[in-house]
Amino acid sequence: MTTTTSVPSKLSASTVAGHDVDPDAPLLQVEDLRVEFTMPTGTVVANDRVNYQLDAGETLAILGESGSGKSVSAQAVMGIIDSPPGAITGGAVRYRGIDLLQLPEKDRRKVRGDHISIIFQDALTALNPVYTVGFQIAEMLRVHRGTSKSEARKVAVDLMDRVKIPSARERLDAYPHEFSGGMRQRVMIAMSLALDPAVLIADEPTTALDVTVQAQVMDLLAELQAETGMGLILITHDLGVVAEVADRVAVMYAGRIVETGEIDDVYHTPTHPYTIGLMESLPQLDVKGGRLRPIPGSPPDLTRRPSGCAFHPRCRFAQQVCVDKDPELRIPAASMVDDDRLAACHFSEEIVDAQ
């Protein structure tokens, strides 16, 4: 999937919102991101030392169970964290070398939607119920580009055609509730692609859809990515979807990334017990018989994060050191694992050897 030759038009510009880009920098780089929510019951560290990188044309999956901080990390990149109670308390989000967290709000706003776009899980609530879909798509062009009303409507029809909404022209003035779930998600996609962004974040885009419709939407996303060469961050809890579309995967647990690497490698030779646990507990379509092996217990409440390695109460490999010391995200020194891999476990090497 990285074999695409097209490059997003955005990448030819040498400035972003008036700031010079670093031509050698990766498309998007998240460094040691920390996001906290101040709640009456205590502080929730929803993202802790989150690191990842995304290149043009690449699909990075962020995989994790609910509450692990996937959406928060996406919202931090977009700059749309609910604040208060949330706040980004550390780290950097570099888009082509420019740290978005340091930009003044008016420049930051110009990056949103134009350079980096997002689509959400539930398009019914993510689209404004009181405006037509045409209005909501055209609004992107009207506000960012100052396009005239009639021109913006024309572009909106083109976009709706592009995401394969049948009879786009007639449906331009329909309201979101008049579309089916799958079509609404297409409207969301059309809207997010209106300005040809270089990065698209899809936060559980198909979780609310049936498999047959999910397959349609995932196909569409892959096709659009191949056309535009944008980088895609796909947030999901579905290991199947990840295996089918991602180039690389970052596994999140309790606000941290616990393992990242190339998709085939991570699925072949997982080096973190949580990744292993996810795979063992998953019933698979092409696997018959046997018994699932669940991870005991349930994900921690982030106001009471376990000491040391947050996974230790559920980990079958845990030792005393896991209770005392939080493992760093590091390259496991095992021969079967290449240096594109990172894992946050004290015993990654031993786990690889045991396989």
Partner: protein, 385 residues
């Protein structure tokens, strides 16, 4: 790896026979015949007029034997929950019969129905909304004993609740806690304990694990398997997740727009599906291993589920059927008219050229997934070197 089809079949044959031998003597514990449930579609505020019927369930038949799990799969809106709710008479059926231990649930007296409700328990998708937030877990689990008096004397109830909590993997000391003090998976365990309290012979589970995360989902799936093995309960397991159903079900029924379009053993449905919809459904479901990424080309269905108030004529699946489109294209070249039958004649759910029923005029077996045995999926052991 038994990738060779004949190899796989040989492996399967004995298992299948064994199953039929095992259970052929058993009368079905639940037998549903021609179940129909239509909801009136009304318009108007002052004067309500019925302008149509939502054909939520239309002529559905199946049976479940003691200790067996029948999986019911299909897209949302295909009528799965309506089947479940109608069986428990939470909706009055429009037509059909449902024999439970030889008696028709739909014609029995209220008194008998109350007894039947005890024997047929239900587990819901959202454990939270089905548990009364103001009752303690102990009271929730003991509630069936208050409704169906005479099962268990009052002074024994507390001990039995503790036993049940232990059985479903909850701490018996938590008997006085409230539902909101438990996580999603634990709440689902409470739901299971409540269902088990009255020793049911059938459990209808409507998407019991759909709201749970994978790691917790596996715990509940294992729990359901365990209680089935221990108590020989028959399950009607409803889910939209084909993988979970494959894992837990002995037999599987696939629903589309109110009808069962294919039914068979787990092997028949997953390894040798004959209905174009089953095939498309299987091909759309992602496989969680990049090594085993669908080798065959994916069958993409067009569009969404049509409205159940105005289903297509003839075969209800024809508006999205890839085989229909393919035949139409071929026939245009050759002057054939095979698709006329799809448009005009509703296909019966019947065995045609294959060993299990399928509601398609032109069934053909198609191999969609390469099944592997779980034993071949390696994972590291418990001990590190």
């Amino acid at each position: 790896m038994p990738s060779d089809a004949t190899d796989a079949e040989q492996q399967m044959q004995p298992a299948e026979q064994q199953m039929t031998v095992d259970r052929s003597g058993d009368e079905p514990v639940l037998e549903v015949r021609n179940l129909v449930k239509h909801f009136p579609l009304t318009q108007g505020i002052v004067f309500k007029r019925t302008i149509g019927q939502i054909q939520a369930v239309d002529d559905v038949s199946f049976s479940i034997r003691p200790g067996e799990t029948l999986g019911l799969v299909g897209e949302s809106g295909s009528g799965k929950s309506t089947v479940a709710r109608t069986l428990l008479r939470l909706h009055e059926p429009t037509g059909g019969e449902a024999f439970f231990q030889g008696q028709d649930l739909f014609t029995m007296s209220n008194k008998d129905m109350r007894a039947a409700r005890r024997d047929i328990q239900m587990i819901f998708q959202d454990p939270y909304s089905s548990l009364n937030p103001r009752m303690t877990v102990g009271d929730i689990i003991a509630e069936p004993w208050r409704i169906h008096t005479g099962i268990l004397p009052r002074n024994e109830q507390r001990d039995r609740v503790a036993e049940l909590l232990d059985l479903v993997g909850l701490n018996p000391d938590h008997i006085n806690r409230f539902p909101h003090q438990f996580s999603g998976g634990q709440r689902q365990r409470i739901g299971v304990a409540r269902a088990l309290a009255v020793n049911p012979s059938v459990i209808i589970a409507d998407e019991p694990v759909s709201a749970l995360d994978v790691s917790v989902q596996a715990q509940v799936v294992n729990l359901l398997e365990d209680i089935q093995a221990e108590f020989g309960i028959a399950f009607l397991f409803i889910a939209h997740d084909l993988s979970v159903v494959r894992h837990i079900a002995d037999r599987v029924a696939v629903m589309y727009l109110g009808k069962i379009i294919e039914i068979g053993t787990e092997e028949q449905i997953y390894d040798r599906p004959t209905h174009p919809y089953t095939q498309a459904l299987l091909s759309a479901a992602p496989i969680a291993d990049p090594r085993r990424r669908a080798a065959s080309e994916r069958i993409l269905l067009q569009g969404d589920l049509p409205s159940p108030s105005n289903p297509p004529s003839g075969c209800r699946f024809r508006t999205r059927c890839w085989l229909f489109n393919q035949m139409k294209e071929e026939d245009e070249a050759t002057g054939g008219n095979r698709t006329d039958k799809c448009i005009n004649e509703p296909p019966e759910l019947a065995e045609r050229d294959y060993d299990h029923p399928s509601a398609c005029h032109y069934p053909q077996e198609r191999h969609i997934i390469e099944t592997v045995d779980r034993a071949e999926v390696t994972t590291p052991g418990d001990d590190l070197p």
